[in-house]
């Protein structure tokens, strides 16, 4: 009964337009930001005799005393000396018009709150061929994103912005992936797509992502209920592979992680792989390396290395250079140094200039030195990562196809090394996807996108990310990028993201053009929203929507790992002891 009574009427005092109108809220009712409402207005004179339904979300609510002139009148109204009306007005941004007759709502027409099926229509959920839950609306109903705008069929890529620590960007990104993998609904992701989808998560900060496969013991009942509302199970990720950088200075690659040692593989590149895949440019991923002469130098060395990788025994991880085996960057540098500076007597004796094995003859000494200097810095950062002194190097190769979810843990590495790993991995991924085609989808989660694809300057890794943003859609590579400020990320990457999400924003940041999808009131709200709340914009709905999402069902710290597992481990040990005894 209550559902059928209007919450208010289209305000007649201000123009109601096709895209925006105001509601006068009836006494005894309330209207909240983000509430979804609708109004039916007949179109007189239209050949179809249509009744047009305007769906919209509330973007502003205000109350005031009408009929008073001065601010201080409020006081005398309060004292009961001056009678005044309380006007309760909500502003509605139209999200959908059915049928598409672009008239405007009629003043004084009743406005209703959209619930259930009306809500699904209002937010276009009902017309989404495939959908995945992306949070809970203020009305406690689930909110969905259109999977077609994620997987590349209509659009792809997600851009998540927000202040570190408060905005919970990566948590939300992981939640979105979790929802995609676990949502069971006729309109959800088809099981085949889901089973074959691959996810690569680059973990660049802390060890939060190392427990994705463990249940979170600290999850509250409220969070569990949220999962339930969205039709999601409460469980950790399954089928997860973890890779981490190796500890430096150890003969055998050993995980560098603190909190987790089990089931985690240190990754390595052999020098032969490094050479064959032309990964040298990724060592110089800083944008300022991109001067013409330096780029030429990098390119010629990379070509030389690539040629070398085809020589000698392809089984061997080492490269054979001028009769010498080199297996890591350190020895590569030695070789290059020798090549540049040579043996002192050599030049005088020959009378002619020595020809360089590595550098073209026109290369300037200054450039060579600069190259060497930068290479030393990179070698330092990647010590233990590029190495050939290992048995079965294939065990240490990041294989993102073997498991559903692959976590690449990078937070113990310096920035230059992180860039190398991300760049090299993505390059390999793109090459492979060019071969295999759009399916299975590969989702790449990368935090601090502004570091990898900054707006200013050009870098090899920025190029790869831009390539993913532009071509990834057709190759089935989907970038879920997170950054503090979208305004400092390469424009075309943000522009190519179909789904835009933001958590808490810095005020100045919220005013930049990247957030033009936020109407004024949402920009202001972006500065105050709490962790666990996100503003999401997707192409199906012209207005952004505020959603809450639950705490992760998986652990993000070792303390959160569910006790049951710990006790079962204890149990196992007890058994071992029994048998040993």
């Amino acid at each position: 009964m209550e559902e059928n009574s209007p919450i208010g009427f289209v305000l007649g005092h201000r123009p109601a337009s096709t895209l925006e109108f105001f509601v006068l809220v009836e006494p005894g009712n309330y209207l909240e930001l983000d509430d979804v409402v609708y109004v039916d207005s007949p179109v007189e004179g239209h050949p179809t005799d249509a009744i047009v339904r305007f769906y919209g979300t509330v973007s502003e609510v205000s109350q005031y005393h009408e009929g008073i002139q001065f601010d201080s009148d409020t006081q005398i109204v309060r004292a009961g000396i001056l009678p005044a009306n309380v006007a309760y007005v909500g502003k509605v941004v139209v999200t959908k018009i059915v049928p598409e007759i672009f008239v405007s709502p009629h003043p004084a027409d009743p406005v209703f709150r959209a619930k259930g099926g009306d809500l699904e229509d209002a937010l276009s959920f009902s017309s989404m061929a495939q959908r995945i839950p992306a949070g809970i609306l203020r009305s406690q109903e689930p909110f969905y994103v259109n999977f077609d705008f994620l997987n590349g069929s209509k659009g792809a890529h997600v851009s998540i912005s927000g202040i570190s620590g408060v905005a919970t960007k990566t948590t939300y990104a992981t939640f979105l992936l979790y929802a995609m993998l676990n949502y069971q609904h006729p309109k959800g992701v088809p099981a085949a797509d889901k089973a074959s989808a691959r996810i690569i998560v680059f973990n660049v900060k802390g060890e939060d992502m190392l427990f994705l496969d463990k249940r979170n013991s600290k999850l509250s009942a409220g969070d569990e209920e949220m999962y339930d509302r969205m039709g999601l199970p409460v469980e950790p990720f399954r089928d997860v592979a973890f890779y981490t950088s190796p500890r430096t200075g150890l003969g055998v690659p050993t995980p560098s992680t603190d909190q987790r040692q089990a089931d985690i593989t240190p990754f390595c590149w052999t020098l032969r792989e490094f050479a064959r895949e032309r990964l040298l440019p990724f060592l110089f991923a800083d944008a300022d390396s991109e001067t013409t002469s330096m780029a030429g130098c990098i390119s010629s060395i990379a070509t030389r290395l690539e040629r070398l990788s085809g020589e000698g025994s392809s089984e061997s991880p080492f490269l054979l250079v001028q009769g010498r085996l080199i297996g890591d960057l350190r020895s590569l540098i030695d070789t290059l140094e020798e090549d540049i500076y040579g043996n002192e007597g050599e030049e005088e004796g020959g009378g002619r200039k020595r020809t360089s094995y590595w550098f073209p003859p026109y290369e300037h000494a200054g450039t060579k030195n600069a190259f060497l200097r930068k290479l030393r810095v990179a070698a330092e950062a990647l010590a233990g990562v590029i190495r050939s002194d290992i048995d079965h190097p294939e065990h240490y190769k990041i294989d993102f196809d073997a498991h559903r979810l692959t976590v690449v843990h990078l937070s113990n590495l310096k920035s230059a090394a992180q860039k190398f790993i991300v760049g090299s991995t993505l390059k390999r991924l793109m090459k492979e996807k060019e071969r295999t085609g759009r399916k299975p989808y590969v989702f790449v989660l990368l935090d601090e996108l502004n570091k990898y694809a900054p707006r200013e300057g050009k870098s090899p890794i920025g190029d790869i990310l831009l390539d993913i943003a532009e071509r990834g859609r057709s190759l089935g590579v989907v970038l879920i990028g997170a950054q503090q400020s979208a305004s400092s990320v390469e424009k075309r990457i943000i522009a190519n993201s179909s789904i835009k999400v933001n958590g808490r924003l810095d005020f100045a940041e919220s005013q930049s053009a990247e957030y033009d999808y936020l109407p004024g009131s949402f920009r202001l709200r972006s500065c105050i929203i709490k962790p666990g709340t996100m503003i999401l914009h997707q192409p199906d709905i012209p207005a952004p929507v505020l959603v809450r999402f639950p705490m992760p069902a998986w652990a993000t710290r070792s303390e959160e790992v569910e006790e049951v597992e710990a006790s079962s481990r204890k149990e196992a040990r007890r058994f071992e002891d029994l048998f040993a005894g």
């Binding site: 007189e44 009929g67 009148d73 000396i81 009678p83």
Partner: protein, 344 residues
Amino acid sequence: MRIKPDYWQSFYSGALEVAEERSPSKYRVELDAEVEPSKFGAIEGGGRHPVPLQGAVAFIDGVRRIDLHAMVEDLPPHIGLFGSVATGAMVMEDGRSTLQEALRHVQVSRLFLTNAPDPSEKFISSPATSALLGSLHYEVRVVKSSEPQAFNNALMNRMAELEADTSTRLSREKGVAMVISDGPIPFERSAEREGGKLVGLIKSVRELYLPKEQLPVLAGLRLGERSHLFAIRYEDARTSKLSCFVRLQGVSAFVSSFANLVRLEIPLMPRSQAISLADSAAAIAVHYASNVYADSRAPQNLYPVAALEAALKNRLGDPRLLRNRLLAMLGQGGTEHKSVPKES
């Protein structure tokens, strides 16, 4: 009856609020209504020590407006006038009222006044359409004069009728302790008829009534004080009234010592009852007195009355809208279109 707009009159004078004019009648003042004439003076109390009032106070007021001047085409032509009046009450209760609760008994009456004898229609109406919301009905009334003042008076009388009706109805309500009407109370309204609750509040103190010797009393009234009651006896009237002056706000050296005064009128009634009513009314007037920054007619234009006037004017409808609608309606009469002369 063929009515045509009288453009010149309408546009030159615009939609006027009718000016109030009152012809002074002869009267005699008796100072012994409350105390002996020799003791006539000011009373502490009133505003300073308000007399507790059991129930609500109703403020009654009305507004009137000429919507359009017109000519009735005839030989000779006659004068016509479309006018509207609205009356209502603001019932203030418990110190807290929203407009929805306080605004009551709103009546809107629209008249077409003409000196054409025996007009053929009883009403001139413009029905509502989907674009023109709300129908308009002007009741046709005959004025037996061609003097503009007679037309104004006819509107005023209609307003007074409605106000009197409202006041009588409110006086009979149990919860209403006092009815304050804007302006002098008409002679025919006896204390019995109004249940001893009616008080008239006169904002503009042009007529001082008191003899010259008593004027210092008036000039010396302090905030919240009232003068003793005096009786005004009209020679030509059937009855008389009691009256007193109240100081709503203190006066500084910069304003006249006769500023910030209102005059209260109450029908003749037993002395003790009259004193009690005057005390309460004085207290209420001071309580609701407006501030000079908020109202050009402050402090005499009490807050509830100002709000009531605004609400009533609102109920009359937008004057331009109404005039356009009347012009459109009269234009449908069939004669050729006349262009509207520009305002000079």
